[in-house]
């Protein structure tokens, strides 16, 4: 099952950077199974930017990793060895990124991460050819901890699934949060029933709940939490409140504060144009994943207008400069090629029939990550 999508447009539209040689981009992302919504959003955001650039010399090969590390590794080998791609991107899940990225960048391919930001790749395992356009995994959780301080929460009950990103989430929250912990619980990955945890929350005397439960887990938790009659305020990272999920949660999410580096109401022309054109193209509101895919493609385009990936040093310098208009406004990389960015607190609201988010404040300003100092590049 292979999709070969060629960005088609007239060459006349290419104002600058017409290159003699075509560029091949390999995208490995999750397009089937329970996590497909995220991969589809990243792909659609990415392809929207490529189409808008009007360049017809960029070929994007898109493959579905089915959220399985072994499949992702096979696809990556195929893309590098037989497709001979110059740049790779697309992986959503940290465990897949850890399986694919180190091997890929060591074979002189550039990798631009539109989502996963596992801590080893930001610290000791950083690499000159690896760039993360989204965030380091801990970032949004750190922002939630910082928001909790500002909101005056002093006794949080925290929960996340028992897997690496879940443990990072609780670590990230605790890194910034100053108060006491009323309880700390690891749930099972893929768990769908949270009655037991909600009973513990009720009994714990907490004044706030922090949770990291991406995808369907978050939907289940929020619906059950709303129905349980426990009314302690909830805070979490954007992953449980993105545009794809909110409609399935419904009223249960209204008013919940979550942290994100992006929202559709960030006020800059790039973002406004992105939200409008994404809606026009795909007939749905973009999610943060879509914005990350869009930014990743625009970063790539900005570097391609300077140099071809064959000229690795010049191309790398161009990526590092990050000279593109991001949907997040100003965008810059830190020394470990991870974003230094502002992370906002958003609140879930209802606009007509649609549930969406509104920015209510800044949680962390110009925030880097805790691992940058460990990166020796």
């Amino acid at each position: 099952m292979k999709n070969l999508i060629l960005a088609t447009a007239t060459a006349a539209l290419c104002a600058t950077g017409v290159l003699a040689e075509d560029v091949k981009v390999g995208m490995i992302t999750t397009l089937s199974g329970g996590g497909a919504g995220l991969g589809i959003d990243v792909r659609d955001g990415f392809m929207l930017a490529i189409a808008q650039s009007g360049r017809d010399d960029i070929e994007v090969v898109i493959e579905d990793d089915q959220r399985k590390p072994d499949i992702a590794v096979q696809l990556s080998d195929k893309m590098i060895q037989s497709e001979r791609v110059d740049v790779m991107t697309g992986i959503i899940w940290s465990n897949l990124a850890m399986a694919v990225v180190p091997a890929a960048v060591n074979q002189d391919v550039f990798y631009l991460s539109p989502n996963a930001g596992p801590s080893p790749l930001a610290g000791q395992g950083c690499h000159q050819n690896y760039f993360n356009v989204a965030w380091q995994n801990d970032n949004l959780h750190e922002a939630a901890g910082s928001y909790a301080n500002g909101a005056g929460y002093a006794n949080s009950f925290i929960l996340a699934p028992n897997y690496p990103a879940g443990q990072d989430a609780l670590t990230g929250y605790k890194r910034m949060y100053d108060g006491e912990l009323a309880g700390e619980v690891f749930t099972q990955l893929g768990q769908t029933d949270y009655a037991a945890e909600i009973a513990q929350i009720r009994a714990s005397g907490a004044d706030s709940v922090f949770f990291f439960l991406p995808g369907g887990m978050g939907i289940s938790f929020l619906k059950q939490y709303a129905d349980s009659g426990v009314d302690i305020p909830v805070v979490g990272p954007a992953f449980s409140f993105d545009q794809g999920i909110l409609q399935a949660v419904g009223d249960a999410a209204l008013g919940v504060v979550n942290t994100s580096q992006w929202n559709k109401d960030i006020d800059n022309p790039t973002n406004a144009a992105f939200v409008d054109s994404f809606q026009a193209e795909y007939d749905r509101l973009p999610s943060l994943y879509a914005s990350q895919g869009f930014d990743t493609a625009n970063l790539l385009l900005s570097a391609l207008s300077v140099a071809h990936p064959n000229d690795a040093d010049a191309f790398r310098d161009a990526l590092r400069a990050a000279d593109f208009d991001s949907t997040r406004g100003d965008f810059a990389f830190g020394p470990n090629h991870h974003p230094v960015q502002t992370i906002y607190a958003r609140e879930v609201i209802q606009e007509g029939d649609v549930f969406t988010n509104k920015i209510i404040g800044v949680a962390l300003e110009n925030h880097s990550d805790a691992y940058a100092a460990m990166c020796k590049m």
Binding site: G37, T192, A195, A196, A203, K223, D227, I245, A248
Partner: protein, 306 residues
């Protein structure tokens, strides 16, 4: 830890258990009577949830959604029995696994094709939403109490169907000796389609009921399917009573293990590590339970003795 919390957790375990029973009952009937391993049972659960979400979304009525779930799942079950499964009764278990696994893929991608990749919305009906206060000051969601009641009623109904009706006699006879009841003039293929549709309808009902408090999404059936297999192995394959007892055991072990094992570990470990290793052990607890039961009774609690 207060007694209120413990009672609440036991209720949670019961609720989880009776929903597992709805899944396991169909699975064990199909395995017991037809000797068929049906991996696609989880897909029927998903079909039920999607049908309920779609119809409830269109009409605004949860009850109509439930009825749609029953009909859609039973219909899907009958169709796959007649088109695919019927050819597999004489085949080896491995062929059955292969074919029904293919059905999972077809159902999953078919559902994505029709409904898209994003989860659907299905909410608890207003009349059942929110908590009620039980004697002793326990706050418990009304919807979960309703689930327990529905599960117990279905269990009772199934017991009556199997022990007290003519179809039940045929089902029990089919479990014991397939050829003989054929020779006695019972239309085996009709009976099989009926059992399959009944099992599918129960799975669809479970999917719709649970879908209201969880997320209705592609692939939602597979985690439940694995648990349902654990339940029927513990209970003894083919036994409805075994499925009921097994489901409650698994539901209670899973829920109570997840809560109390980390607490137990905290008695002799530092809190963070206790939490991590306690939850790791809790997620293994039902499989350990299965292992212990199988050592004690290799055919399950109520399985036929060989």
């Amino acid at each position: 830890m207060s007694s209120i919390l413990i009672i609440e957790q036991i209720l949670n375990g019961l609720q989880f258990g009776v929903m597992l029973f709805l899944m396991a009952a169909g699975l064990t009937l199909i395995f017991g009577v037809m000797g068929l391993i049906n991996l696609a049972h989880g897909s029927l659960y998903m079909v039920g949830a999607f049908a309920a979400a779609a119809v409830a979304g269109l009409t605004g009525s949860f009850l109509l959604g439930l009825i749609a779930a029953l009909i859609a799942a039973a219909f899907a079950g009958a169709i796959i029995e007649m088109v695919v499964i019927r050819r597999l009764y004489k085949a080896a278990h491995l062929d059955q696994v292969l074919a029904t696994f293919a059905l999972i893929l077809i159902f999953s991608e078919g559902t994505r094709w029709v409904f898209g990749s994003f989860p659907l919305f299905l909410d608890i009906p207003d009349a059942l939403s929110g908590p009620v206060t039980l004697p002793g000051g326990i706050q418990y969601p009304l919807y979960r109490l309703t689930l327990i009641a529905i599960g117990l009623l279905v269990a009772l109904g199934l017991w009556a169907l199997i022990e007290r009706t003519r179809i039940g006699i045929q089902i029990r006879a089919g479990e014991n000796d397939r050829e003989m009841i054929g020779a006695l003039g019972v239309d085996i293929s009709k009976l099989y389609t009926l059992i399959f549709a009944l099992g599918a309808a129960l799975a669809g009902l479970a999917g719709a009921l649970v879908g209201a408090i969880q997320s209705v999404q592609v692939g939602m059936g597979e985690p439940v399917l694995i648990l349902a297999f654990v339940v029927i192995v513990i209970g003894g394959i083919g036994s409805i009573r075994g499925a009921f007892v097994g489901a409650l055991l698994v539901g209670l072990t899973d829920t109570l293990g997840g809560v109390f094992l980390p607490e137990l570990f905290k008695l002799f470990m530092e809190a963070g590590a206790a939490q991590k290793s306690g939850s790791a052990l809790a997620s293994m607890s039902i499989y350990m339970l299965m292992g212990l039961v199988l050592i004690w009774r290799p055919t399950g609690l109520f399985g036929a003795r060989t």
